[in-house]
Symmetry: C2
Subunit: 289 residues, 2 copies
């Protein structure tokens, strides 16, 4: 779906919600989480390659003009982080990092109990932390980015690459040989639960790369809580102990022993709740459009 | 110098300053920057291995008890970051990272224009970001920490390790062979200026490792400014372009092109000024001890 369709859908949705909510004065503003980098004016700088034409799009102005409402924007994982921090798994955290393990890997940061967007809304681009020198080529143009190993896409790629080595001893490898195009990360994790050797290899590889990434992040941010969200968090019971095994190799001991990794508590609602909170926390009620 | 001597010196210094400043009511409080991790109560958690017995020391209570003054504490590079953010090279930054290149490597973070200490005062432990798997053993117990390559100690170690390879073609290598124990990082950088091949090798190695570290930090924090302080910042005119050459391999392009690396503007005063500012920013003037 192209940029203008996405923007049209947003405007239609706001109109519908406004109708449902009744009087305009009960609506404080509009909070939006979007993939990619969005600047403080609500204009996309880039990074959201899955929406053609989204870079350069001014999301905020059309909403302000049509509805006369204030608008605040942030990266989608940043608003999910805020949602989890206020209502979910990070409710008791002073400083937390939200890691979304989905098609790619994204990060959202809430420190000093405040959402941290970074200059130009670019903080938390943790999927592109390089964990393997001269590693897997990444869509971003670099090599060895952590999302090439530990996202759903990464897990699928690594499983396919190594399937032939495990051909004689892995049900997953046989599945891949028979239906190479239908492999999902869920299938890989289902096979981790039955100790399928290829699946275990892929899982350990992903956890090692993620552990390396988390170690660097913890040495930098020393958050007390890491919240795992995104599609792969359905396998958080496997991923959290797996990653925790590897983190200490890359992290100052005193920091690691004071950090907890937990699954998100809000599922897909985290983003919407966080975007809504962004309105209350960032839009001054005394300021007019 | 042991912990009790250090604490005695601090108390004596405060008494002297209090005498010089006159009436007590003009003193709002005491701000302290210290190596290592210091918690919100002013008690050392650890990390300052160069002061024997410092871990576990309660810095704040003796000051409160003896002088009746409020006390606030932070890591030494954290207060230097605040100093540079308020008065120095980060004065116009919204989000900045201060990197102290000295005997070790430390980091201080000022984001959303507020100092960020991390949970338990442990944020910015960037000297122990691992940049080389199975790399140089580090005092922290891990391997390949960036300070093993790009701190003064690291530069000296790498120069010594590789001197023999360059014996026939490097004045620096001949110096090291003649006086192996008196090598300083300054000598290495003096030789970089004359394009000595060993010195250039060591410098490029350090810059590559630092570039890797900065790339990860930028993908995480997306600061607009990185300020270089510490003893090695005397060679910032060599180090900044050197590091800048390597960062793009490890950093999302849109983030890197919006970040500037600059030398600190305040020298050794950054820490004292930052610690003083911490008093004004963290101690509520309406609260009594």
């Amino acid at each position: 779906m192209g940029a203008s369709r996405v923007l049209d859908n947003i405007l239609t949705l706001i109109a519908t919600l406004q109708q449902q909510c009744g009087a305009d004065e009960t609506i404080r503003g509009v909070g939006i989480g979007t993939p990619g980098f969005v600047d403080t004016n609500g204009v996309m700088i880039g990074g959201a390659k899955n929406i053609p034409g989204w870079a350069g799009t001014d999301i905020a102005s059309p909403i302000r003009e049509r509805f006369g409402l204030d608008v605040t924007t942030a990266n989608d994982v940043t608003v999910a982080a805020l949602g989890e921090a206020r209502f979910g798994a990070g409710k008791h955290a002073d400083n937390m990092l939200c890691v979304a393990l989905g098609t790619g890997i994204g990060g959202g940061i809430v420190v000093n109990q405040t959402v941290y967007k970074g200059s130009h809304g670019m903080a938390g681009e943790i999927g592109h932390i390089v964990v393997e020198e001269n590693g897997q080529p990444c869509t971003c143009g670099m090599q060895g980015c952590v999302e090439q190993y530990a996202s759903a896409t990464g897990v699928i790629t690594i499983a396919r690459q190594h399937a032939s080595r495990f051909a004689n001893r892995s049900e997953l490898a046989r599945d891949i040989a028979a239906h190479p195009d239908t492999l999902t990360a869920k299938t890989v994790y289902d096979h981790v639960r039955t100790q399928d050797p290829l699946a275990v290899f892929v899982h350990e590889y992903a956890c090692r790369m993620l552990g390396k990434c988390f170690g660097m992040l913890l040495n930098t941010l020393a958050v007390d809580t890491i919240v795992i969200t995104g599609g792969l968090s359905a396998s958080a019971d496997l991923i959290i102990p797996g990653v925790s095994h590897y983190v200490p190799r890359w992290c100052w001991h005193d920091i690691w022993e004071r950090c907890t990794i937990v699954p998100g508590a809000l599922g897909d609602s985290a983003g919407a709740l966080g975007a809504a909170m962004l309105v209350f926390e960032e839009i001054d009620p005394h300021e007019t459009v």
